[in-house]
């Protein structure tokens, strides 16, 4: 009940404040209602909206800012922490757009800028971002490559190695769907007992799916004299 009352009061205050203030503006998403509905104060909601508006005025995509704000509010992040995260993200979005422009993408779409910002957040450098964008070719593929490199970095593979692995994959002719498999392949190799360093070596060799050892649960050659056992076959035989 307390929480509901707080939300209702917040909405009323928020409504009064916004009635006096300017609206969110054309094309700028208004995140305030969602934030207040999740229990954020009207003050915080307005501060977040201001960051969103400023982001839009800089020509940067607002989607990642809104998404981060909603994530923070869902997780009940403290207001100061949420605002700091949003401002940091806005800075990364600016760096990401700059890197994309330097990679000869004159009008980078929001998806590409967002993916590049995510990569920068994983410790990748603007040069890594430029390398990935150039190697991918189409913008859609570049977006995928940036997301995959970010995932590989999150799995413990160094940012330079992750960048080179994705770059090599694109240059060897792999499409986006195959590049998207790299994180699962890396995870699979790690699950099989390889160290992150070994996985990295294999990724850079361009053969992440290489067979390292036979699967002994597979039966040896059918009919060969060397019998493999599969529990229930071949069945026991009477002499």
């Amino acid at each position: 009940m307390k929480r509901t009352a707080r939300i209702l009061i917040g909405l009323l205050v928020f409504g009064a404040a916004t009635a006096l203030a300017q609206g969110a503006g054309d094309g700028v998403p208004d995140v305030r209602v969602q934030l207040v509905a999740r229990g954020a104060s009207a003050e915080l909601a307005n501060q977040v909206q201001q960051i969103v508006t400023e982001t839009a005025s800089q020509g940067l995509p607002t989607g990642p800012i809104v998404d981060k704000a909603l994530e923070g509010s869902a997780k009940r992040a403290p207001a100061d922490r949420l605002l700091t995260a949003l401002i940091d993200l806005r800075t990364r979005l600016g760096s990401a757009r700059q890197a994309a422009v330097e990679a000869q993408v004159q009008s980078p779409p929001a998806s590409l800028v967002s993916a590049a910002a995510q990569a920068l957040g994983r410790g990748m450098t603007p040069e890594d971002v430029r390398t990935l964008i150039r190697s991918a070719g189409p913008v859609e593929a570049a977006t995928t490559g940036l997301m995959v490199a970010s995932s590989l970095a999150a799995q413990g593979i160094g940012r330079a190695a992750a960048t080179r692995a994705v770059e090599r994959a694109f240059k060897s002719g792999r499409g986006s769907s195959e590049v998207l498999e790299l994180p699962s392949v890396a995870a699979s190799l790690i699950a099989r007992g390889m160290t992150v360093a070994e996985v990295t070596t294999r990724m850079l060799a361009g053969s992440p799916l290489a067979v390292e050892r036979p699967d002994l649960t597979d039966r040896p050659a059918q009919g060969a004299a060397i019998l493999g056992t599969q529990g229930t076959e071949p069945p026991p035989r009477k002499p």
Binding site: Q34, D67, K68, L70, E71, G72, A74, K75, R81, L82, A85, M147, S150, S151, A154, Q155, G156, S176, L180, P183, S184, A186, A187, S188, I190, A191, G193, T195, V196, A205, S207, P208, L209, A210, V211, E212, R213, P214, L216, T217, P220, A221, Q222, G223, A224, A225, I226, L227, G228, T229, Q230, G231, T232, E233, P234, P235, P236, R237, K238, P239
Partner: protein, 353 residues
């Protein structure tokens, strides 16, 4: 409906040595009909233990069978391999294997062999070449030297479908024969279906070999196995025959199943719809929130074996998400790539290929 199971980001960054082991007990029955028209029905009890490391793997099976007529048979077999990488795409190794079969306490037959192996794998294609030498003790007490050469080719046709072709040449004493076969395997987290055929030319000609195997894993710890087929004569002196078997394999707690069930599995249901299944043992309620739904927790349905699932409309890409467990605890699944969320917690990465 095209159904594709994608195993996503399942590996832990620091898998413990035990995570690569497997141990299990199998209970079941088999009915066999041999070429000399003798038939037999037996109960089966078998045990398997194996270990897979970075450079070595071992697997041992012990099977005890008691026929309806009272006789008992014991089959024990073991295999081991040690490998050294040559490059990112090739390894060399040594394989050793042996097996012994006894019937009512008397040794029937045995094989001991070993040799080098070359393994090659690039992208969706892999293969191996093996050479082996050793000896065979036949059911009649005679002994033969044994030499084999075997080539194997594996290819992944789709995410769930693999094809393996094998050919082997065998020389056992004065016997010389060659085998050629292929196996098609369809695998999903809860299901594995295998169908194979083979043919032989040379001194031990026989009817075409065939077999089908089915494995259903209703839980992470139990596997229903069923198999049927026809097998050829072998150098030990056994006749050919056919069989059908069924049973349950129980995984020893603390070990992984024969095929690991991943922490997070994604099953594609359509062009833009996926089913996400996540292992969250001991939870009373689990909800998922991510960048696709404005971080609004959406409840997951409880499945068997401590897994929870939900259908999502997601196109290929990488998505940040987190789980809300029991309504009050934000977390990410074990053994999945995750990044700091900048709020003191983590966000997991869901990859939809």
């Amino acid at each position: 409906m095209r159904t594709v199971t994608l195993l996503v980001l399942a590996g832990g960054l620091a898998a413990s040595p035990l995570a690569a082991q497997n141990a299990s007990i199998f209970l079941g029955g088999v009915h066999a009909r041999y070429a000399d028209s003798v038939t037999g029905t037996a109960g089966l009890l078998s045990a398997r233990i194996g270990h897979t490391g970075r450079r070595a793997a071992t697997l041992f099976d012990a099977n005890f069978s008691r026929f309806a007529t009272g006789e008992a048979a014991v089959q024990v077999a073991g295999q081991g391999v040690l490998t050294w990488p040559l490059s990112g795409a090739a390894s060399v190794g040594i394989i050793g294997l042996g097996s012994v079969s006894t019937f009512d306490g008397g040794t029937q037959s045995g094989i001991l062999a070993g040799g080098p192996v070359l393994l090659i794998g690039v992208r969706r294609v892999g293969g191996s070449i093996r050479l082996g030498g050793g000896g065979v003790r036949r059911v009649d007490g005679s002994e033969l030297s044994l030499f084999t050469a075997e080539a194997r080719f594996d290819t992944r046709i789709t995410r769930n479908l693999t094809f393996t072709a094998q050919t082997a040449g065998t020389r056992a004493g004065s016997l010389r024969f060659a085998d050629l076969g292929g196996v098609l395997t369809y695998e999903r987290p809860v299901l594995r279906v295998e169908a194979g055929i083979g043919a032989r030319a040379g001194d031990l000609p026989d009817n075409p070999e065939w077999r089908v195997r089915l494995e259903i894993r209703p839980t992470g710890g139990t596997v229903l196995e069923a198999a049927a087929g026809a097998y050829p004569r072998d150098v030990s002196g056994f006749t050919s025959g056919g069989f059908a078997s069924v049973g349950l394999r129980f995984m020893v707690p603390g070990r992984i199943p024969l095929v690991t069930r991943r922490t997070v599995a994604v099953q594609r249901l359509g062009r833009a719809t996926v089913k996400v299944s996540i292992a969250v043992p001991d939870a009373r309620a689990v909800a998922i929130a991510g960048e696709w739904n404005g971080w609004t927790p959406a409840p997951l349905a409880r499945d068997a074996g401590g897994r929870w699932s939900v259908e999502l409309a997601l196109s290929p890409g990488v998505y940040r998400f987190a789980l809300l467990v029991n309504g009050d605890r934000w977390t990410v699944p074990d053994e999945i790539a995750a990044v700091p969320d900048e709020f003191g917690g983590k966000a997991a990465l869901l990859v939809i290929p």
